[in-house]
Amino acid sequence: MTLGGGVTRASVGELALRLIAIRGAAGYAAYLVAAGAVPDVIAELGEELAAFDPALAVEALGPGSGELLLRALARPTREIVVVDAAAYGDRDWGLLDRRRSSLARAGLLVFVTTPASFEALMQTAPNLASWLGAFVFEQAPSAPNNAMVREQRLAALRTWAQKSDQDVIVAATQGVLPADPAYAEWLVLLGRGDLLDNG
C-alpha cells in the first residue's frame, strides 16, 4: 500500500523481501519507524534477511552522526549495511548529502530512522532523497489482522465441531478432549495452551 508522498507501508518482513529482490546492485533505502523502536527493528530486520538467505552478509551500524557514518563506511563493509539514523538531524543529513560520493558502495545501504529525522533529510539532503527514490518505507505492523484471524479461526472451529469454547476447555480439563490437531489449535487460540498436555 503506498501512502501520500511516495512512502510505502511495509512490515519488517516485507522490507526484507524487497531488499532481497534488489540485492546485487548498489542501492539505498530508508525505513521509518517510531522513535525508540529503531534498535529492535534493526535486529528484527537482520533476522528477517537471514531467514531469506542465511548466507547474506548484513552489518548493523549505529554511528551517532553523519560524520561517524562516513568514517565507518570508509572501511570494508558487508553486502547490506543497516544504519541506525534515528538521531540524525539537519546537520548530519546535510553533510551526507554534500559528501554523498563517500556513501557510494557496492551493496545496499538502509537508513532506519524516525519520521522526524526523515523530514530533516527531505529538507536538507535533496540529492540523497533522490537516491532513495521510491525505496522509502514506513513500518507497518507484521500482523495487523491477528485478532480478526483468531476470531475467524475460532468461529470456523465452533461451526465444524458444533461445540463452544467452554465445551472444549471443560473437555480438555477433564482429559477427554479429542486429539485432533484442530483442538490443539483451538486451545492455543483461547490462550489455554496449558491444557495441551491434558490427554
Binding site: 533476522e47 491477528n146 484471524v149 470456523a156 465444524w160 485432533d180 490462550g191 495452551g193 496449558d194 495441551l196
Partner: protein, 210 residues
Amino acid sequence: MSLAKLQVYVTDRQLDLPHRAKDLFRTLRAELIEASNAKAIQESPQDVFRRLQLLAEPPAQLLDHLRANNLHEHAFCILGGEKNQARDHGAHHFQRSDDAWFDFSIVVRERSEHLDLLAYDFELRFPPGLGVPFLRFDLNLPHHANDERDIRCHLHPGSDDILVPAPLMTPSELLTLFLEGAQLPAGRAPRAFTAFEAAWFEQMYVLTRR
C-alpha cells in the same frame, strides 16, 4: 496385534527444528516465497505474507496464577491459509501450478532450549482425475487416552474415516512434500482408471446422490 510399536516407530524421531516459533514461521514463509518466485504456486509473495500467519497465545487470557508464576511456556499456531474443514475452494489457500491446493496449521510450544512440535494438519487437495480427492497428514496431540488404538501421526488417504501410519515430519518437510512431491512427473498424463476404480467412483456417485 497392537500397533503401539509402530506408533513409537513413526513418532520416535528427533526433529531438526528452530528454537523459536518465529524462526519456523520465517522458514516456511521463505519456502513459500521461493515457490512463488519459481511459479510452483500461483500466489504472489504478497499473498504469502497475507495467508501465512503466526498467532501467539493471547497473553491477556493466560490464567492469573500461571502468568504470575511464569509457569506458562508459550504456545503458537502457524497457519497457512484459512480454516477450511468444508474444503471450500473459495477459502484462502495455496495453489500449485497443477491446481492442487493446500492449507495447513501447526501448533508448537517454545521451551527454554527448543521448540516442541505438538500438532499439525497439512491437507493437499487434488483436481479430479488424480486418484484421490485429498491427502491429509495429521499429528495429533500427545498422551491421548486412545494412543493404543489410534495412531498419533497418520495420513488420511482421501478419506476422513480411514487413516494409516505416517512418519513424523517437520513442517518444512511436509511443505516440501506438498510443493515438490505428490504430483505427476512433468509431461506425464494420469494413468487410466482400472475397471475397479471406475466402478468404485461410479458407486460413489450413486451413493452420494441418495
